[in-house]
């Protein structure tokens, strides 16, 4: 047994020594399963990034040019497969940096593995605080739910002047449950205890929300907040309308998939949700990215694609900040991690990021309105207090 282990070690060492002028970046994303669209966006954005690197002849680090390779693993939209994929990328592929997994349910456990193995990992899309909590090697490129909840509460209070809120969320899923709680706390601190007049829940895979919605309508709430995924939102919105609910329905970044308007039709037109970026009406390098992606893959990238692009930009900067790669993968990983934590400000296509408080960026959230054509239009941007509105 020992001999085999030594053999494997030697083989790995040989492999990493041999590949010293190649940098490997791991992609851990859900290519299959119920979040397959998320994995697709991740992979496509990474392909575009790699094209740019290849066009430039490679990645220059400390005066030496390295070739870049991507190692892609499927997390199958499952926590255990995301862990398996991360382990394989770290131990077999010998990657320098892992990008993904994206959904919090996968990123929280996979981050644990990466941190234990001292390999830097960046999740572009995971907004749950636990993904990076007490993990020096785990980073992210998006804001957190404790920020998003107050953003929605503040926006609704200011824009509509409402006082009474209703919430409908999936009690069996981490992201909606966490965000519903964050929103409720923020709304009540603003409008006083009892200002959330209906706080209703259901379970994953439920299709009928009529009794919850009937209660919400009776409660006299001014609007409904529902932080659900794009497959449930159409059902909630249509049933609410059929029961005679004519008030606004507001959502969160989980709404922001290209599939939403396809499934929802005109029922969703005019509704608003908070998210990371707005594709319609984008300018500058954001527009450049959108146009290029659209031309290459035939549809407008959703927030996952744009955030992955920024995550890879951060990875590139971190590697260059490291200054010099030794070829010893362990030392290099630590060096790149340190390079990552040297980044204070980053100007991405999803907005400016401020890393002064550790591994989670502070950045502005965008409020998007679904237009009558079903496009996601920029409506407002809301920034943390520490960042001036641009």
């Amino acid at each position: 047994m020992k001999r085999i282990l030594v053999g494997i070690m030697a083989w790995l060492l040989a492999l990493s020594a041999q590949a010293s002028d190649v940098i490997k970046i791991g992609i851990d994303a859900s290519m299959t399963g119920d979040k397959s669209k998320v994995g697709e966006g991740t992979r496509y954005a990474a392909q575009l990034w790699l094209e740019d690197i290849k066009k430039a002849g490679g990645l220059k680090v400390g005066g030496k040019t390295y070739q870049v390779e991507l190692a892609v693993e499927d997390s199958e939209s499952k926590a255990e497969s995301a862990v398996k994929a991360a382990t394989k990328l770290i131990t077999e592929d010998g990657v320098l940096f892992i990008v993904g997994p994206q959904a919090s349910v996968e990123a929280v456990p996979a981050g644990e593995v990466a941190n234990n193995q001292a390999t830097p990992l960046i999740s572009a899309w995971s907004t749950n605080p636990n993904a990076t909590l007490n993990r020096p090697y785990v980073f992210r490129a998006c804001f957190l739910d404790p920020f998003q909840g107050p953003v929605v509460a503040g926006f609704v209070a200011k824009h509509y002047g409402f006082k009474k809120a209703a919430v409908l969320y999936d009690v069996a899923s981490d992201y909606p449950k966490g965000l519903a709680e964050n929103f409720k706390a923020a709304w009540e601190s603003r409008n006083g205890a009892g200002s959330v007049v209906a706080y209703e829940s259901f379970s994953t895979n439920d299709k009928d929300f009529s009794s919850q919605l009937t209660k919400i309508i009776k409660s006299g709430a001014d609007f409904l907040f529902t932080p659900q995924y794009y497959a449930e939102v159409p059902l909630i919105v249509q049933q609410a309308h059929e029961l005679g609910f004519k008030k606004p329905i507001v959502g969160s970044d989980s709404w922001g998939s290209a599939e939403l308007t396809k499934l929802c039709g005109k029922d969703c037109n005019g509704l608003m949700f908070s998210t990371h970026y707005a594709a319609a009406g984008a300018k500058g390098k954001t527009k450049e990215f959108i146009d290029r992606y659209n031309k290459e893959f035939g549809y407008v990238p959703d927030d996952v694609g744009a955030l992955t692009w920024d995550a890879l930009g951060l990875v590139q900067t971190a590697i260059q900040n490291c200054g010099k790669l030794t070829g010893d993968i362990k030392a290099d990983r630590t060096c790149v991690r340190d390079g990552m934590s040297k980044i204070r400000q980053f100007d991405g296509i999803t907005g400016k990021m401020n890393f002064s408080k550790g591994n989670d960026p502070e950045k502005c959230a965008v409020i998007v309105r679904i237009s009558d054509k079903g496009e996601f239009e920029f409506f407002d941007s809301i920034c943390p207090d520490s960042m001036a509105k641009n």
Binding site: T32, G33, D34, S36, K37, S77, V171, E200, S201, F202, S203, N205, K207, D208, S210, S211, Q212, T214, K215, K218, A231, E232, P234, L235, Q238, H241, E242, L243, G244, E259, K262, L263, G265
Partner: protein, 309 residues
């Protein structure tokens, strides 16, 4: 609880209960003929819904490109008819491939066959169409009426009305026709009755065809009411309809319909009165309690030889 609030919930419960009733019927009928729970039934419901999407999309495309201009209600009627026939064939195929070779095997083997066929249908669908959610085409433009504060849609009237009509038709078929009589006889004793000249295989095929056809109707109605479909939609829903079949009394058509509506009503009202998080916990504890006092369900008999349709 105000009167309009109460009536609104009754309307909601009627729609939700129709689905349970239609699916529970399939479980109940197969059980009474074969003494076997067809655990693939929830997935036959799912497949029926997907077949409905395919047929409807085809017909809509035909009428849009002018080849066969049809108003939406005819498209809907044709979709239901064609999907019922196709899904009935699927149900019969399941019986022919999965159950008939195991007719004399232990019941447990046949039960797990059903589970496996269910998994094959789910994963087959996943491979064929991917994990993407599918939208059921909107064949009915939703119209909402307000009657004294209670909101009713044309969809709800259609779903509840047609479901009740189908249940009544099935009841008449079983009670008034020769084939129905043969089914009742088979349910009475499936060993002896075939010896008296009742064709066992034909009756079984008929039972599966009717059960699956009803599941297809439920699938299409489900798609109209909740137009986002996924390959796993039949699992939990199938289990709950199975609960309704047991609650109604194994092998009882009337019982299955009533229990379906009762289950829908319990679920809706529990979520209305208690915090909605506790819905399934309280609803299914209640049903457990009912079964403690009526272990054979509402219309079930204590001895299997006296099962009747």
């Amino acid at each position: 609880m105000g009167l309009t609030f109460f009536l609104q919930n009754v309307v909601n419960a009627l729609q939700w209960g129709s689905f349970y009733g239609l699916i529970a019927l399939g479980y109940s009928m197969v059980y009474s003929i074969l003494m076997l729970f067809n655990f693939a039934h929830g997935d036959i419901f799912m497949t029926g819904s997907y077949i409905g999407v395919g047929v409807a999309a085809g017909l809509v495309a035909l009428s849009q490109y002018g080849a066969l201009p049809l108003p939406n209600w005819i498209v809907l009627a044709l979709t239901v008819l064609i999907s019922v026939v196709l899904t009935a064939f699927l149900g019969v195929a399941v019986e022919r491939i999965g159950y008939r070779p195991l007719r004399h095997a232990p019941r447990a083997s046949a039960a797990i066959t059903g589970l496996m066929i269910g998994i094959i249908l789910e994963t087959g669908n996943l491979i064929l169409l991917g994990a993407r959610r599918i939208k059921f085409p909107s064949l009915i433009e939703p119209v909402s009426f307000e009657l004294g504060g209670v909101y009713i849609t044309n969809k709800k009237i259609l779903i509840v009305g047609l479901s009740l009509a189908l249940m009544l038709l099935l009841h008449l078929f079983i009670q008034r026709t020769k084939w129905g009589m043969a089914m009742r006889a088979m349910a009475f004793d499936y060993v002896v009755v075939p010896l008296m000249g009742v064709p066992h295989n034909r009756i079984t095929v008929l039972t599966f065809a009717i059960g699956s056809g009803l599941a297809a109707v439920a699938g299409i109605f489900f798609g109209i009411a909740y137009p986002v479909l996924d390959p796993n939609m039949g699992i939990l829903f199938g289990w709950k309809a199975f609960v309704a079949a047991i609650l109604g009394g194994r092998g009882s058509v009337l019982g299955a319909c009533l229990a379906g509506f009762l289950l829908g009503t319990i679920e809706v009202f529990v979520a209305t009165i208690f915090p909605s998080t506790l819905r399934d916990l309280i609803a299914y504890s209640l049903i457990l309690l009912i079964l403690v006092f009526r272990p054979h369900g509402f219309f079930g008999e204590a001895y299997s030889a006296q099962l009747r349709l």
